[in-house]
């Protein structure tokens, strides 16, 4: 029993944090927005050099061969930087899905390209059916009931669905599902999509943790610098308590997300429950922090020009991603209230 990260894992986190704070600045994000995109090929190539898209790609396919325990801290950093790249679909979901499909040809074709930064893979799961960055994807993995379909983007109709967060560009994908596109079905397809959902929701939860941390930092910095009545507004107890409440929510979401990463990496039987708990806790913390951070910033925070909303929009849109909180709460409720549920002390890490 050891609930801490290794030095290597923490070092990778710091490395990515430093990289993103230099390369994924608000200016870079806004430039992409202004040009009607969120993906920046040069940034993606640099991320590939660090190993980010191929984190979960096996070493046999030229990837990093890591697990969700390694990657969870990196997704936190993506959230802290409001990284507008399709890391969840491509790195967290598509790579392991391609491994688990067991189709050697498909895996051999796409996994090395993912790791090398040469392929973006969009994923459409029915729980959040619009596909992020479908227009820049090289391959689409799409759900039709139990079936997994691998679809070439140029054979599908991709219709932009303008939405609230310019960093999350959504598309409706219409395609002809058939023998040519079907790569899994039945029980196999069902379990592949269940695993994909857990991985997507976990990565979104980790990004929400990072975004929440950043929202609190931005608000605390602003409260220290902004003067009213002759002193920093951060010296007022009302403001202090708002931000302290955000910090409490954040620090009690974080270990839930880390445990979910462990459960997914180790295929613990309750992993879906753990992921849903993580998504709920992280999204709740992020929603709360975005409201409080806006309030601390006052009218300035309500402008397009101030950078705060880059993270507020991440908090809102990541809550939508990979199952909203009502979906995940229902999953937890079903599990906790079922007759066979074994609750109480001593059962957190062991089902008994």
């Amino acid at each position: 029993m050891r609930f801490t990260f290794d030095e290597d894992q923490l070092l990778f986190q710091t490395t990515l944090r430093d990289f993103l704070s230099n390369e994924c600045t608000p200016e870079v994000i806004r430039k992409a927005w202004d040009e009607g995109r969120s993906h920046t090929p040069a940034l993606w190539a640099q991320l590939a050099e660090l190993g980010v898209p191929g984190l979960l790609v096996p070493e046999a396919h030229d990837g990093m061969g890591m697990s969700e325990i390694d990657s969870v801290l990196l997704f936190e950093e993506a959230g802290r930087a409001a990284l507008p790249e399709p890391v969840i679909a491509t790195a967290a979901v598509a790579a392991p899905l391609l491994v688990e499909l067991g189709d050697e040809a498909l895996a051999g074709e796409w996994l090395p390209r993912i790791g090398g930064g040469d392929a973006i893979v969009g994923v459409g799961h029915e729980v959040s059916p619009l596909v992020v960055d479908a227009d820049v994807s090289h391959l689409l993995l799409l759900q039709r009931g139990d079936e997994v379909h691998a679809v070439a983007p140029d054979s599908a109709e991709i219709v932009a669905q303008p939405a609230n967060d310019p960093s999350r560009r959504l598309f409706k994908v219409n395609f002809d599902a058939g023998d040519a596109t079907r790569v899994a079905a039945g029980d196999a397809g069902r379990s592949l999509w269940a695993a994909a959902l857990d991985r997507g929701a976990l990565a979104a939860a980790a990004q929400l943790v990072g975004a929440t941390d950043k929202l609190i930092t931005l608000a605390a910095e602003y409260a220290e610098q902004r003067q009213q009545f002759g002193k920093p507004i951060g010296s007022f107890q009302a403001v202090k308590h708002m931000l302290a409440n955000c910090k409490v929510k954040l620090e009690y979401a974080r270990p839930v997300v880390h445990r979910a990463a462990h459960s997914v990496a180790r295929s613990v039987s309750d992993r879906s429950l753990h992921v849903s708990m993580a998504k709920v806790a992280a999204a709740d913390a992020a929603q709360f922090a975005s409201r409080q951070a806006l309030q601390v910033h006052g009218a300035l925070g309500y402008t397009w020009e101030q950078d705060l909303h880059i993270w507020m929009r991440r908090a809102w849109s990541l809550e939508q991603a990979w199952g909203r909180n009502d979906f995940h709460r229902s999953r937890v409720e079903e599990r906790v209230l079922e007759a066979s549920a074994r609750l109480g002390p001593g059962r957190t890490f062991r089902g008994e």
Binding site: M1, S235, Y252, M277, L343, F349
Partner: protein, 386 residues
């Protein structure tokens, strides 16, 4: 990261479970807020000590088991699972004990810890004064050195367990010219010393659980000074760290309440507001989150980390969770919610009202939650003091 118990930890859990199943009294003890209940609880502590389970994480030489904090968490889980009695000496064993281990002299450790471990000596806290509550640095009780004794004058209040305890620990002003948190010393006082008068105060539940303690030229040996003279504030911060989180409020008690709340909801699902489902499950998730955070903290401590201001995060989280769980339970109970345990129509559910009244103290003691929020804002988030 490896969230799986080792074979040794599982074996220890089994040993603890077996012992507790064989030894936990079949009927609940009387409240330790009554004299009779207090003595019943001391008897239980003696039995626990004889079984080798009183102080799981303490060194063997001080009456402990010499296990680490992870095993202690496992023990706590089994303790609550077995519905074992509340720990009457919690001020001593969970708060003062670790502080003595950190700051005590070898003589003090040998003198105080074993008797604390067996609850031969039960401890009360003496932090607050009539004019030093949230503003603890405003302590006015003095302890003036006279040869090998301190002569103590002043008043402490809200001394938990003060009504029946044998000893009291607290902070006193040893430098009468000092101000605020300078010049304070951490002193251990025998409550039977001449010049000390204890006046019990009844709590919201009508039981005499805490007390006012008056010092009128009470003489206490300088051997009972813990840490350096004038450095009591630092020593007390260590105790407060234990009180706000890890030791006093291990997660098992909240998981136990959360599981009972889920069971209560299931029994009453047909008759209560369906909107309560979400709050019930939310409580359960928060109790799990508290558990996960505690395992994370313990893992960090075992790797050489320290508890700092983040104990204030714990304190807010568990105290608000405890109130919420009981509020939800009372809503589920409907018209029975106001009944005391002895009411025949209460049918065993009166415990929730008892628990609710106890939970209401949580956001107040160990430093009010408002003070904890100030600490988080200033010491963790770096906001300006003024």
């Amino acid at each position: 990261m490896d969230l799986v118990y080792t074979a040794e930890q599982e074996a220890f859990r089994k040993e603890a479970r077996t012992w507790l199943e064989a030894n936990v009294p079949s009927r609940p003890l009387k409240s330790f807020d009554t004299k009779e209940g207090f003595e019943e609880h001391r008897e239980w502590e003696k039995q626990l000590q004889a079984g080798g389970f009183a102080m799981v994480p303490w060194p063997v030489e001080y009456g402990g088991r010499g296990a680490n904090l992870l095993e202690w968490l496992v023990f706590e889980e089994e303790y609550f699972r077995a519905k074992a009695p509340a720990r009457v000496n919690q001020n001593g064993i969970f708060l003062l004990g670790p502080t003595i281990m950190e700051y005590g002299t070898p003589e003090q450790k040998a003198r105080f810890l074993p008797k604390m471990a067996s609850s031969e000596e039960v401890w009360a806290q003496g932090w607050s004064e009539p004019n030093a509550g949230s503003d603890m640095a405003n302590i006015q009780a003095t302890a003036i050195r006279d040869g090998d004794h301190f002569v103590i004058n002043g008043q402490k209040t809200w001394a938990s367990r003060g009504a029946y305890a044998h000893w009291l620990f607290g902070m006193f002003r040893t430098d009468p010219d000092s101000e605020r948190h300078r010049g304070l010393s951490f002193i251990l006082c025998p409550l039977d010393a001449p010049g000390i008068t204890v006046r019990p105060i009844e709590k919201l539940n009508h039981k005499a659980a805490f007390a006012e303690v008056f010092f009128d030229d009470a003489r206490v040996s300088v051997d009972h000074l813990l840490g350096e003279e004038g450095k009591g504030w630092n020593v007390s911060m260590s105790t407060a760290g234990f009180e706000r989180g890890l030791m006093l409020r291990s997660p098992a008690r909240f998981q136990d309440t959360a599981a009972k709340l889920v069971a209560l909801y299931k029994e009453n699902e047909g008759s209560c507001d369906p909107g309560l489902k979400r709050r019930v499950v939310d409580c359960w998730m928060r109790a799990e989150a508290y558990t996960l955070d505690t395992y994370r903290t313990v893992s960090r401590l075992l790797e050489g980390g320290k508890i700092g201001a983040e104990a204030s995060l714990n304190k807010i989280f568990w105290s608000e969770l405890d109130v919420e769980m009981h509020e939800v339970a009372l809503e589920i109970l409907g018209w029975r919610a106001e009944l005391l345990p002895q009411a025949s129509e209460a049918q065993g559910v009166g415990e929730w009202l008892d628990g609710y009244i106890f939970a209401l103290a949580g956001p107040i003691y160990a430093g009010t939650n408002e003070i904890q929020r100030n600490i988080i804002a200033e010491r963790i988030l770096g906001l300006p003091r003024k």
